[in-house]
Symmetry: C2
Subunit: 364 residues, 2 copies
């Protein structure tokens, strides 16, 4: 069993994360629309359904089709409208409540030109990430974009959606400030348009803000995804604890070099991808190293040990000294907590729950 | 066609790369054992066979099984021996000429303990990458490792293998120096052991050194892989030209922001992975942006335009000014040359040759 790099999932940790976030949303009286891009799995989607969740976000039209095939009937595609996928969007819009995004005036024009069945349309707002979306202050372009949306009777202007992706690169102590800035911008927009569009909705909420903040006045729904699994980027920023991380990559140890305080594992960029985080000691790390328990759970990260570099199939484990690296031996299996769980899961294509059961993901 | 991020392959460029490298090896009188980890495809493997190539390297036992299933019968697994895969290695060793690596004394002991059918065994030597392998000067450990290999009659000590992976991070003007240092170390080893083992082989040769250097005295075979497709890391280091790059990711343009000199494409970390290179202007770039021609070939990279950042599905294209970004429009398809072709290919799982034919890769 596990003779090659294999992704383990703790159903217990994952369900605890799902429950915690839902309980918080219920307490705050705010709708929760979890983003399913992190797990991309019908089976894990059903775990959310077990707690009564009925509305989801995804990051592509194929992902919307995949989840619609399992009965999800209220889906937001939280990615700018892709003109080349008009046929697929029109087909989906026939059978489910579909929300799509327009992220520029030109993007809205292509939507308006190509949509034949009813969809709800959010205007995406850039609130500081400097990625996609109109600027919150650019009322002129927002007005023109709304006009384009209204020109097609099948595209229903639904509100404003934003992803404060810059929260991912910040430590816990800055998250509240980011949340205040972003929700303030979104509320200014809401106040400006609510008279004209009384049912206007504001969709917002990445994992760092949704998990840690308490103040979401004026926000209609939260859309976090990463919290399903969490990862070392979130843990190293203080958003979660390492005990919240629900996935780990099992890797064989193939060579140990005490004189260099290093060891080599089979586990590299084709498994973990090349994202990284900065650990407590200031090291750039491609993963945290844990012992694998006989029951396929894993320990806390081994202190002072981290994945120093990765290439296609190799991972280089660095320890603080030659004695420390000797706790690993050739032939061992270890568990690596990934820097970025969304990318590692997407790469691995599925999850093992202990050695008993494989949970597949959508085929990309 | 191509309504989502899609990996295109130019058979013409790829075959030209295959032919160039083989012609050079023949001219130098050195054996070529191309590394198939870059393409991981039975069909592309057959293109090599068209030119008479019969020996290959791979980076994992599953990859060896995959190519053995298409009749390749001389394969080097250029990765430290994985004890957990002993059964698979023993099975392969029955049917093909199999070379494996040991990369530490402990690694050799596990090999010796678990091999039941004849395999050829290289000792991996670290020649400056500081990844896996014994130090070239550590004769004591090398002697002990040879002893362990000789203790099992089925493990045939075959020679020394090295990967000078540090050549990948260096510009062309340093490659000759690296090659001289590395080949000199390997020749010292060879001279030290050749009397005792007259048929000792030295296997070496990454893409930067194999493609650009001329002096390989004492080296028995070259093992480059990346040259099959090349990529922007190699082009930006001056190893190849962008016209040598054989794969490009087709991406829909979804939003254009002239006021920010930026555009958003559907093409992100789940397609390109998160490797990067430094472009001629000193920018950190996640890909070079080209126009896609109607016949599904692509232009040279657009000057001053590059992929500034990527997240899961988004790519952010940066242009030098607002006029320049206007050459892209929502609804366009563009072609992105990847920073690291091995990782992008591995992620995408296959290649389109124009819009006519899909070439699958091994399922990982």
């Amino acid at each position: 069993m596990f003779s090659k790099p294999t992704l383990l999932l703790s159903e217990e940790i994952c369900r605890a994360n799902i429950e915690f976030m839902l309980a918080k949303a219920l307490r705050l009286g705010i709708e929760l629309r979890p983003h399913f891009k992190t797990h991309q799995s019908i089976e894990i989607g059903r775990w959310f359904r077990d707690y009564g969740i009925g509305k989801i976000a995804v990051s592509s039209v194929p992902m919307a089709q995949y989840f619609a095939s399992d009965g999800w009937n209220d889906i937001t595609v939280a990615f700018p409208y892709v003109y080349q996928q008009a046929d697929e969007v029109n087909a989906l819009a026939k059978s489910i409540n579909l929300q799509v995004l327009v992220s520029s005036l030109g993007n809205a024009k292509l939507l308006s030109k190509s949509i034949k069945n009813r969809v709800n349309v959010y205007i995406e707002i850039d609130t500081g990430q400097y990625r996609s979306g109109l600027q919150a202050e650019d009322f002129d372009t927002i007005d023109k974009t709304i006009e384009v949306i209204l020109s097609n009777p099948n595209t229903n202007f639904y509100g404003f959606l934003s992803h404060a992706g810059h929260s991912y690169n910040n430590h816990l102590n800055k998250i509240t400030q980011i949340n205040t800035e972003v929700t303030s911008k979104l509320n200014q927009l809401k106040n400006n348009y609510i008279k004209q569009f009384p049912s206007l909705k504001i969709s917002y909420g990445d994992t760092p803000t949704s998990w840690t903040c308490e103040q979401f006045d004026g926000i209609d729904e939260l859309r976090p995804g990463n919290y399903t699994f969490f990862d070392m980027q979130q843990a190293s920023n203080g958003i979660c604890s390492t005990s919240n991380i629900a996935i780990a990559l099992v890797c064989p140890v193939v060579a140990v070099y005490p004189e260099r305080s290093r060891a080599i594992i089979w586990g590299g960029a084709v498994h973990l991808t090349k994202d990284f985080y900065t650990d407590n000691d200031g090291n750039k790390s491609f993963g945290a190293v844990c012992k694998l328990n006989p029951d396929y759970t894993w320990t806390k990260p081994i202190e002072g040990m981290y994945l120093e570099s990765i290439s296609q199939e190799h991972g280089v484990v660095r320890a603080k000294n030659c004695e420390a690296i000797k706790s690993l031996r050739e032939g061992d299996l270890i568990a690596v907590l990934p820097p970025h769980s969304c990318l590692t899961a997407d790469k691995m294509g599925g999850f093992w729950v202990q050695e008993k059961r494989f949970i597949p993901m959508m085929k990309s």
